[in-house]
Symmetry: none
Subunit: 428 residues, 2 copies
């Protein structure tokens, strides 16, 4: 199996001015081609550090992919530095030069002298054409004699260079580099998917699926964040279809075992999973929010077509709003307070009646950082859920030290998940 390393070149990356999305794009694409990528690095516009990083990468991997440093200015050093590593002369490419000239002719701007340098390439390297800009990249097949100059073992390695502008890089990858690599290395294809879980912790999940975590093909790995977690299943095969077939039994086992804990694949969110069920069951949902302040409503309406299940939602922050809009009885607020199971249920019933929907959902709690007491600390949240026949509530005790935004997100996650599970149960 072939291996590649990605080297991102640019001082703007090291200063954090630019987010390196190119590396993520290339990493994904290499995985699809079945090319391993074990290291990725970033250096600035500095010859000696570019050399150090490029040599280290070529020592370890079969393919070096660079991004950035192909522009016309003095700090664009990629081509000349790579040539220097192998002591290769730089030639002007007439064809590239005339393309750059015609690019400028079409643009009405005069061509600066410095752009000529973009037509330089190390002797023996091929051009990686760039349809969307003046900087072409190169595909440089390094033979044994070049490699021996660096005391690098191996008969053939290859360097591909790309400009840093993402749109130029994407097109160059798709049109030239990807077909070249597919042909050059006839390797395996990697296919992977994420199974997203809610209501179960990362370590509990890892324990439940311990027998899967040491498989070789497919591999299974747990990841966590934001009170939810996911299992990534990754399979290798000669084709994508074969890899999928290899992954399938494990995916089915997880779906079966996890039950309602697993809410979907890849880009699924708790709101999109809930929305799908609402639409499939032709049901409507109304939300009355206190501490989440509109967050649940915002997430539910982020989904195109949300008007199918949304009529109106309310943010009832003050006690007065809870009474006048949702008909929460005053004695509940006086006796139990706004953050109570009684209030959560009254709010859920209230919004159900106001909006005339199939399901009413409510959230009331203390998001902090202020407003907590010994009895009712920051992080205490009650969620109410009501249908025509039934009303219930759930108590959530989140760690008080979490940020306000985090408490609100987790409360919203749990609330959305309650609707999702209710819809699944009603339908089963």
């Amino acid at each position: 199996m072939a291996s590649a390393e990605i080297l991102s070149i640019g001082t703007e990356l090291l200063l954090g001015h630019v987010l390196d999305t190119n590396s993520q794009f290339l990493a994904r694409e290499l995985a699809v081609l079945g090319i391993d990528c074990f290291f990725r690095s970033t250096v600035g516009d500095n010859k000696s550090r570019i050399k150090e990083a490029a040599k280290a990468a070529l020592t370890r991997a079969d393919i070096l992919i660079t991004t950035g440093g192909l522009g016309p200015t003095a700090d664009d050093l990629t081509t000349e530095t790579l040539a220097e590593i192998f002591d290769a002369p730089l030639d002007f490419d007439r064809e590239v030069l005339s393309k750059i000239e015609s690019y400028f002719a079409a643009s009405r701007f005069p061509m600066p002298e410095s752009n000529r340098k973009q037509a330089l390439r190390p002797r023996g390297a091929d051009i990686l054409p760039n349809a969307n800009g003046t900087a072409p990249g190169m595909i440089w097949k390094l033979n044994e004699s070049l490699l021996s100059k660096l005391h690098i073992p191996g008969k053939q390695k290859v360097i591909l260079t790309f400009p840093g502008v993402p749109q130029e890089l994407y097109a160059m990858w798709k049109e030239t580099a990807k077909p070249f690599l597919e042909h050059y290395f006839s390797g395996e294809t990697i296919w992977s998917c994420q199974l997203k879980h809610f209501g179960i912790g990362e370590s509990a999940l890892a324990q439940k699926y311990e027998h899967l975590l040491n498989l070789a093909n497919p591999t299974v790995a747990p990841y966590a964040g934001f009170g939810e977690c996911r299992l990534t299943v990754t399979a290798k095969g000669k084709t994508e279809a074969e890899a999928k077939v290899i992954a399938q039994p494990v995916i089915e086992e997880i779906l079966q075992t996890s039950g309602t804990h697993c809410y979907g694949f890849d880009n699924e969110t708790l709101e999109s999973a809930t929305a799908k069920l609402l639409i499939a069951q032709n049901k409507t949902l109304a939300v009355a929010e206190s501490c989440t302040g509109g967050l649940i409503s915002q997430r539910l309406t982020d989904i195109p077509g949300s008007s199918a299940y949304t009529k109106s939602n309310a943010v009832t922050y003050s006690n007065e709003a809870k009474m006048t809009l949702l008909n929460v009885p005053e004695n509940i607020l006086v006796q139990h307070g706004a953050v109570s199971p009684e209030c959560a249920e009254a709010m859920a019933k209230g919004i159900l009646n106001l909006a005339k929907t199939d399901i009413g959902l409510s959230v009331t709690g203390i998001a902090g950082p202020d407003g907590g007491t010994a009895d009712k600390p920051v992080g205490l949240v009650y969620i109410g859920i009501a249908t025509k026949d039934k009303c219930s509530n759930t108590k959530l005790v989140l760690p008080s030290q979490l940020s306000r935004a985090n408490i609100r997100q987790r409360a919203a996650n749990t609330a959305l998940n309650m609707v999702r599970v209710l819809l699944l149960e009603q339908n089963s």
Copy 2:
């Protein structure tokens, strides 16, 4: 001047499943501290490659910062691998263990055995506390005798480890790591601030302040994104106080010239700037949202203490909700439609009356991707604003090709800015 390297650890990064935003955050923060960063690298969850990358980084730089690999599962290898490099024994930290136990006690999930490993740390390392998760990081000062084990020259270097979850990392950086590094390396201090603008484009801003863009100390640079833009003023001095004094005259010039276009500094948002004015003027605001679906309400209540100005907000998605909740006259909906200046004004008046606030704000539009027509394309938004005496509306025509989320954010930005400017004008 001290130097640092960032090492991101995680197979999910190498496969491109996750975009490495942590590295950008850390790179920016290091630049602000005046700490050089010449290399950045990424490796998977693999001991030998973590070792190789960590050793190379420590040979070159004074500080190694790692992200990822601190979780409870078998593929979380950072702590034990770093300990192995220096042949340091791993001790259980009782305090960390009890914190992890209380975290689980509060969360309703039983604590899995594997979480105990998150309390391990190499002998001699200090804890880098994590307020938002179970995985603490560490600050490990490496003395000469540890460094000599790797034949690394130098008297002292330091390793800082962070989990991969961005929100946890940000808080840990701000609360502990940044103050530690500021104290640890006393170099030249860089101080910078951002002046955030709304309602003026990047190039107009750059033109207006052309005379400032070539200054040497302080420097002034414009950045843009998401329909708003900012000027960053950066000054160097022996101390932070000295750097601030150097920046001050330029900041004052910008504040004077930009007027209401500049809504605040650094972490100020349109909602926090609006909230400050509402609180200072003791005024209340109610929002009736259609296409933004709760986003404005969510943003306004993200701010601690938002109950001072929020009573109730409504998301009125359906025409029926607009009529019953907000008293929008049926003939407006029939004659002009829900996306019209007339409806926006009626909604703003309606929510003002319903919530009995000083200001009523409304948004109605087409967020897409579907629902657009030749007359009313995706991206058309009307914003209404009402007080006791006055009601007006603004038409916003956003590019149709923008994403639904982007259209909703920009509509919310403009709406919040209208309230902000109204409050400034009322008070002037």
